[in-house]
């Protein structure tokens, strides 16, 4: 009961933020120089006034800005994200087309980075000061300092071009006609490089954070209590230190899971991944306002959803939060 009201309150707050995002983004994006009608006219290879006027009318650009904004907000409130004239389809459908690819990419990058990162961090923390700690910490630091796009490029160079192990880009082998498990495997192959290069950075983040958090928790009083009980190191590490050390990681993971959705622009561009990050970048260069706004809207909504999920998980992990 109480949880339900809390979620409702959070959602209400989130809705306000979302609405603010909508309005501000709308104004921001419309502040961009470049008239979408001119862009489309430009692409057509020729223009005249009639054509521009037609396009403007089609986009609703002949209306004053506040009218456009009002209409947009009104439509969004009715779950209508508008129409992409550039792509000739409703924005909502477009996003739903692209979202699965993004979720697959970022989801697997997220899972891989979280699992490997935390594992590496735990290993490093339990060997603190030894060579394996130094190795893990150094590698993590290196990953941390490496620009994502550069890692992606080098990955393609090595694994696709030189070694030929993995496909360099794309979501699946086009026109292969694969179905079922064969198709899943094919997609997995395509997924490997982008997910890995996207995950590297976060893996580094998680391992560093896990290590630091573990070491910090190890200083806490209750760990001393646990040692005074005569518990073995392994049990102390697993049962007492790790569980407590995971709390800040849950927060971070939640924050990042949300950001990942909108944050894969670079990876999607390098790997020709048909997700919404790339869609966003294309929409920006084409001044496809509705799509751009839609992407922002969806990714912001994702952030909010993930924050909510984080809160819930946090509540499960930490009884203190649950009781509040």
């Amino acid at each position: 009961m109480k949880i339900a009201t809390r979620i409702a309150a959070r959602l209400a707050k989130a809705a306000v933020v979302l609405l603010a995002i909508l309005v501000l983004n709308f104004l921001l994006i419309h502040a961009a120089p470049g008239d979408p009608a001119v862009v489309m006219a430009g692409e057509a290879g020729a223009t005249d006034d009639v054509f521009l006027a037609q396009l403007r009318e089609k986009f609703g650009l002949d209306q004053p800005l506040y009218m456009q904004l009002g209409k947009y907000v009104w439509d969004v409130l009715h779950l209508d994200l508008g129409f992409s004239y550039r792509q000739q389809m409703p924005v909502f459908d477009l996003l739903m087309d692209r979202l699965p690819a993004t979720l697959l990419l970022t989801g697997s990058a997220f899972a891989v980075s979280l699992i490997l990162g935390v594992a590496a961090g735990v290993l490093a923390a339990s060997r603190v000061g030894k060579w394996s700690d130094t190795l893990i910490s150094t590698v993590a630091l290196l990953f941390y300092a490496t620009p994502l796009f550069w890692a992606a490029l080098m990955g393609v160079l090595l694994f696709s071009v030189v070694l030929g192990w993995l496909p360099p880009f794309g979501y699946e082998t086009v026109g292969s006609g694969f179905t079922g498990i064969r198709r899943a495997l094919d997609i997995a192959q395509h997924l490997a490089l982008p997910a890995l290069s996207l995950g590297l950075f976060f893996m580094a983040v998680y391992s560093r954070m896990t290590r630091a958090s573990m070491l910090e928790v190890a200083q806490l009083d209750f760990v001393k209590t646990a040692r005074a009980k005569g518990l073995s190191r392994a049990v102390i590490e697993r049962r007492h230190i790790l569980r407590n050390a995971l709390l800040p990681i849950v927060t971070l993971a939640g924050l990042q899971a949300g950001q990942l959705v909108g944050g894969a622009v670079l990876t999607e561009t390098v790997f020709a991944w048909p997700g919404i990050g790339r869609l966003m970048f294309e929409a920006l260069t084409q001044r496809d306002y509705n799509v751009l706004l839609g992407v922002f809207f969806v990714s912001a909504a994702m952030v909010i959803v993930f924050n909510l999920i984080t809160d819930l998980i946090y509540g499960i992990v930490d009884p203190r939060i649950r009781a509040q």
Binding site: V16, V17, L18, A20, I21, L24, N25, L28, I29, A31, A32, P33, L141, L142, Y144, A145, T146, P147, L148, F149, W150, L153, M154, L157, V161, L255, G258, Q259, V261, G262, G263, V265, L266, T269, G277, M280, F281, L284, T285, L292, V295, F296, S299, A300, V303, I304
Partner: protein, 279 residues
Amino acid sequence: MKDFWHRFRANKGGIIGLALLAAIVAVALLAPLLFPGNPWKMVARPFVPPFEGMKFPLGTDTVGRNVAAGLAYGGRVSLLVGLVSTLAALLIGIPVGALAGYFGGRIDDLLMRVTEFFQTVPSFALAIVIVAIFQPSVVSITLAIGIVSWPPVARLVRGEVMSLRQREYIEAAILQGLSTPAIILRQILPNAVSPIIVMASLMVASAILLESSLSFLGLGDPNLMSWGYMIGAARTVIRQAWWLSLFPGVAIVLTVLALNLIGESLNDALNPRLSRRRS
């Protein structure tokens, strides 16, 4: 101070980072002396491989520009953008965080909503949009990076201020009749400076990464040579001329690495939990 330096020195990584950064800064500052003229000048035939002669130790690029010169000048841009955008982020984040943390209540609520707003919009995407809107230039890039990176500062400062505000010496200052601005500026903020410095050093690193990502996407300042630009431009010739993407990439990694090492050492040296022990 001596104490601080002592603790800082205790961390080998910090010293390595400092030396590395000093070297990078030196090269960047001395670029006009090392490579007179400008880095855009086409000085030789395109695609001279590296290590072939003393003249172009790191080779030349697609149109015959000296890669070494590009690296040196690129360092200036990266460091400058990193530094200034971090300052911009601090300039936004510190006041917001300080006000929210000190006054709490409704002001806190409002400011945190705004912060939340900026954290809810995917930051890289927002940076792209901002740069595209204002057209790519150092100013817009720096601004964009500043705008998307202040929320963590605000949150950090808010937390620090909130906890410092409860400290007895702040209450003492209130009782002494000091004005609110004086308390925030002279009592609270100086004591929040350590974590801010640590965060700032790491922010410079991520700003450099962000700048390079933007440049890579073609959203760099076209009049300034930068590492991200070099990689972005080299990407299409990665097969013919591996060195064109490798060297600037390594430069970024080293700079970011150095800053991170320094940041970590600073953290060790400035962290009050480690530096002041009370039993």
